[in-house]
Symmetry: C2
């Protein structure tokens, strides 16, 4: 094999597929990037058996061939080369020469035949959304997947297509995050669970352009994203996702309208009074168009008032501040509505059209007052 590419094209290709390189594995081939120049295109592939990424790299092929190179080393070499044309040559022993200007690296490659290509995904069911939208959907829900692997389903997100709506849901037993968007067309009903790791990695590769589209294909076991020069394929999580709709409700006794930034900053300050690992709740005391936040711990105490618009009953309710902070951080609106039922029922942060819903369970607290 002999190919020549600009350093920056190589670097872009390497950075894209690196996300699917296995870091912990006993199979050295999974730590490799496959360079496939066996046809008329140069393609880089990495595949950790859960997530696979393939991307096209611009360049010229002087001699067709395939080689797998240790990903971290290859990436570091490319990164440190001068900004110029890079030639990669392999001989029949897979000994690989990387040259750029006067620099010459010689490393051993591995047989491309040992490499696991991306699984084949039938392109029948496809939806198209902008890279920006997909990136936002992920950002606004990913924080509430479970970190703990004990319930596999909670480590993924539900992608649910219903006619012309896509709903993305994540939950971890204490809270639920839901984002809903309208699609341009109407599709068959579909429910799949996408691993959180896949979404985190794809979010890093997406350029986030509002004009650039991602095509998303689903099969029984896989999801495939196609965009720019790149294909990402991931296994799905098996099973039937939790029945989210049963947990939602539009009833409320108290509706609070509040400036999001003020609320977020205030909770953020309050958490200074909580030692890490401590499960101290933050108490919201809502009455007379004022929300009072109060937290007391061994460290000290903090209290602050925020002007709000109140509709309905007064309420005093406690929350894990982390859950409030994480939801508030991803909401882009300046003013938000929060709906409360009673101090033991979840609160809902949602907009009128329910393009987002954040459900958060309250925490019991001992009312000293």
């Amino acid at each position: 094999m002999k190919i020549t590419c600009e350093k920056n094209s190589l670097l872009k290709g390497v950075n894209t597929v690196m996300k699917a390189v296995s870091s912990k594995t006993t199979m050295p081939i999974l730590e490799c990037i496959l360079i496939d120049a066996s046809s008329d295109e140069i393609k880089f592939t990495a595949n950790d058996m859960e997530l696979g990424i393939e991307t096209k790299v611009e360049g010229t092929i002087s001699e067709k061939g395939i080689v797998a190179l240790e990903a971290r080393l290859f990436s570091e070499i490319i990164r440190k080369l001068p900004e110029s044309d890079v030639t990669i040559t392999t001989d029949t022993n897979l000994s690989t020469l990387i040259t750029c200007e006067k620099a010459k690296f010689s490393i051993m490659g591995r047989d491309g035949e040992d490499f696991s290509y991306l699984p084949f995904v039938e392109k029948d069911s496809c939806i198209s959304i902008s890279q920006f939208t997909l990136k936002e959907l992920i950002r606004q829900t990913i924080f509430s997947i479970a970190q703990n692997e004990s319930n596999k389903m909670m480590t993924g997100e539900l992608f649910e297509i219903n006619q012309d709506q896509l709903r993305v849901v994540s939950l971890d037993g204490h809270r639920i995050s839901i984002r809903k968007i309208e699609l341009k067309e109407t599709y068959e009903e579909k429910k799949i669970i996408v691993p959180g790791k896949t979404l985190i990695e794809i979010s890093k590769i997406l350029n986030g352009g509002t004009e650039d589209l991602v095509d998303i294909y689903f099969t029984e076991n896989h999801i495939m994203f196609e965009f720019d020069q790149t294909v990402v394929v991931s296994r799905l999580i098996e099973g039937n996702y939790f029945r989210v709709d049963q947990m939602l409700s539009n009833d409320y006794n108290t509706k609070v309208t509040i400036n999001k930034k003020e609320f977020l900053d205030c909770i953020d300050r309050a958490t200074l009074m909580v030692k890490e690992g401590d499960k101290k709740p933050i108490i919201l005391n809502i009455a007379n168009d004022v929300m009072e936040l109060k937290i007391t711990s061994q460290i000290g105490s903090m209290d602050e008032m925020i002007d709000i618009t109140l509709e309905g009953n007064d309420i005093k309710i406690g929350f894990n501040p982390k859950f409030l902070i994480e939801a508030l951080r991803v909401i882009d609106e300046e003013t938000i509505n929060i709906y409360y039922m009673n101090p033991k029922a979840p609160c809902f942060i949602r907009d009128e059209k329910e393009t987002y819903i954040y459900l958060i369970l309250p925490v019991n607290f001992i009312d000293a007052a």
Copy 2:
């Protein structure tokens, strides 16, 4: 005590003195910042008994007093307050109230009497240099102090004043870094050893302005830096520093003139072939106005040619690439001169006027060729 300051003045003050807050200590008072508003000025002080920093903070004093506050908590509270006026009030029990707009924090302070003030430093011997110069002197030498505490003296830097010259020296047994500057006046001869930690921390506080001066005072056991609104006092390391001049030499058999960036980038690339912890040297083969760099390891091999101007004999010599990289990184000149004697003697990277000298010991290598 009752004082009112802008949030940003407080934050600047806190950030300045934080560098001298002890992180590992069994004495809680050393983890505090002292707020001293007992006279007409507000002063923040931190002191870990090696290094002490005091800085003035702008603000108004409504009630004189002193209190010591847990540094990390106080700093976090200030950081998270809105950008507005902050009032700090303590009562006779040292219970401290920090208020800003509608936010109120209540934390416990400690008795300022328990706090160790900065040691008194007689202001007789003083030199004045720009913040820029001091920062550069540190940056260009600090990397070659010893990390290991086994030889205390190597963890510091020699500051040597001789007439109108200040020479700063650091060494770790494998290399020596020397920077020399001219002072505006002539001073008494003086040699002191300043702890590396002090220099690293002060370097972070200096704004680095070419017009802003630092006054440096020396006594038997302390060095004091005065600049802006801040005073930094540090203990000195006791002892007689190594006799550096005996190790220097202007003789050479080979003089190489080389583009610094090309040389640095090339060595940087070569290190990719060295596993961390491995002591593989990089071999420089200098002949016919070309320097060939070559490195071979289990990972692979790398070789590269750099055009040079050669004066004197050909030479083949090996170095620890880290030592070359660290010296080359801090040299600002585009083209540098390197002087070699033989493959067993140190090389010298220095300019004509010897404003900088970097001595690096070579490494033995087995010549396979």
